[in-house]
């Protein structure tokens, strides 16, 4: 039995432990799996970090939580940097975490967030740089693996919806080392080749690592620099890739991208049919309205006025004709009378008429002899009677 009892208070002991631990375990990195994760209403995070053999309480204060680039959750493997502290009221020790990162995918995730932030700050995602997707592309460029499901999906959608388009494939590796460079170069080559109306860049679904090439800066910059509108089609319905943010249009899958770039020909044919139908209807309506207008014109007062005028005119003509006939007859009669009277007068003056009454004309050598003194004994002369002429000779002179 000890005679000297060295008694210390709990508080004192805890204080010594606290001092000892906090001095001997300064800031360090630890690795473990998260469990019992609680996001307290105060904004602080409380959870346990554990591995196969042990566990460690952990706390992350609200001020540091703001810098987190991911959402910690139960079961997640993380590396955390912090220092050991003791919490006297509960007599336990814990790690006061300053920084925490997921292990494995965590690195990629961080890189993703960093690049996203950087490119966003540069304006690569701005909607003002988004190019419109042409409504009726003639040549569709595809940057994807020649052997992947994405190409098959795109092909089958295009075959069904709009087989009249030309498809130009730039085969690339879509995962693994060098994939990002190949994708970026293919985009640049498509631009240099020209004549491509829209570009689908993507691949089928996969793990975050599989899709990684589409989160690379090289690819993002090539998409941004492209003069050809780009539809991204990285086969992951939920998560966005960096390529999705930079692309002019994001499609959740390669099939969806194909749907987005071409109009369905059946729908188009139907549209055209409807337009023709509407056009036919419009022209029929117009024709009917013209018919109606013509019909109403035909019966209108104004239109019938000319016919009335014609009738009036013909009546007047008849009248004129009648009165003209009357005048004309009068003129004829008068003229006839004058003619007759003149004829009589003329007859009276006719020398032949005088001859008939017993006078005769004497001519000597064809000239009328108007005086006895012109004829001498022995002269020949002609005497004209009304019924003939005889030759004579003067027998006795005066």
């Amino acid at each position: 039995m000890s005679t000297e009892k060295n008694v210390v208070t709990i508080t004192e002991l805890t204080r010594q432990i606290k001092q000892s631990l906090e001095t001997n375990f300064p800031r360090m990195w630890v690795e473990g799996e998260i469990s019992n994760f609680k996001h307290h209403t105060s904004g602080h995070l409380y959870f346990t970090l554990k591995d196969e053999g042990a566990q460690l309480s952990a706390v992350m204060w609200r001020s540091r939580v703001a810098n987190l680039t991911f959402s910690p959750e139960d079961g997640m493997k993380v590396v955390a940097r912090g220092s050991i502290t003791v919490y006297p009221p509960r007599g336990n020790y814990q790690i006061d975490i300053e920084q925490i990162q997921p292990v494995g995918i965590g690195e990629l995730q961080l890189a993703f967030e960093r690049l996203k932030k950087k490119l966003a700050a540069e304006g690569l995602f701005d909607s003002t740089y988004k190019k419109p997707i042409p409504e009726f592309p003639d040549r569709i460029g595809i940057v994807t693996s020649e052997t992947g499901a994405a190409l098959q999906d795109i092909r089958s959608v295009l075959s069904r919806r709009q087989p009249s388009v030309d498809v130009i494939l730039a085969p690339v590796r879509v995962q693994g080392a060098g994939a990002a460079e190949e994708i970026a170069e293919a985009i640049e080559q498509m631009n240099r080749y020209g004549g491509i109306d829209v570009l689908i860049v993507g691949r089928g679904g996969g793990s975050l690592e599989d899709l990684w090439a589409f989160n690379e800066e090289r690819v993002a910059r090539a998409i941004y620099a492209s003069k050809i509108p780009i539809v991204s089609a990285v086969g992951h319905e939920i998560d966005f890739s960096i390529a999705d943010f930079v692309a002019d249009l994001r499609a959740p899958t390669p099939s969806a991208a194909a749907e987005l770039v071409v109009r369905d020909r059946m729908e188009l044919l139907e549209d055209i049919g409807n337009l023709c139908y509407t056009m036919r209807g419009a022209i029929d309506t117009q024709m009917a309205s013209f018919h109606e207008r013509v019909a109403s014109l035909l019966t209108s007062y104004s239109f019938n006025r000319p016919r009335d005028l014609v009738r009036e005119f013909s009546q007047r003509v008849d009248e004129i004709d009648r009165s003209l006939g009357v005048s004309f007859n009068h003129i004829i009669r008068t003229a006839h009378q004058r003619y007759n009277s003149l004829r009589h007068q003329l007859q009276a003056l006719n020398p032949k008429g005088v001859l008939k009454r017993g006078y005769s004309i004497v001519r000597k050598e064809g000239r009328i002899v108007s005086s006895a003194s012109l004829l001498h004994f022995g002269d020949g002369a002609e005497i004209q009677f009304h019924d003939g002429t005889i030759g004579v000779q003067v027998e006795k002179g005066k």
Partner: protein, 79 residues
């Protein structure tokens, strides 16, 4: 590329024209002679579009880059 009738030329312009025609016909302020011309043009355009849309085989070509930096198109061998 020769001046072949592309989808872009044909479908985009033709559909736009067809819509214009339908619109002006529907407004009914087009003289009858013009309206008939419009209608005939519309029917012709619709036929051309339908022809174009009826081609049935999707053609896939592969873009490859030669040593000199020029581009060539090959039929895709994967069917």
């Amino acid at each position: 590329m020769a001046a072949k009738k592309t989808n872009k030329n044909l479908l985009e312009h033709s559909l736009k024209r067809l819509e214009e025609i339908v619109e002006s016909l529907e407004q009914g302020d087009v003289p009858l002679d013009d309206a008939v011309d419009f209608y005939e043009e519309g029917i012709r355009i619709a036929k051309e579009c339908a022809e174009k849309l009826k081609s049935t085989e999707l053609r896939i070509k592969k873009l490859s880059k030669g040593i000199e930096g020029q581009f060539t198109l090959n039929e895709s061998d994967e069917e």
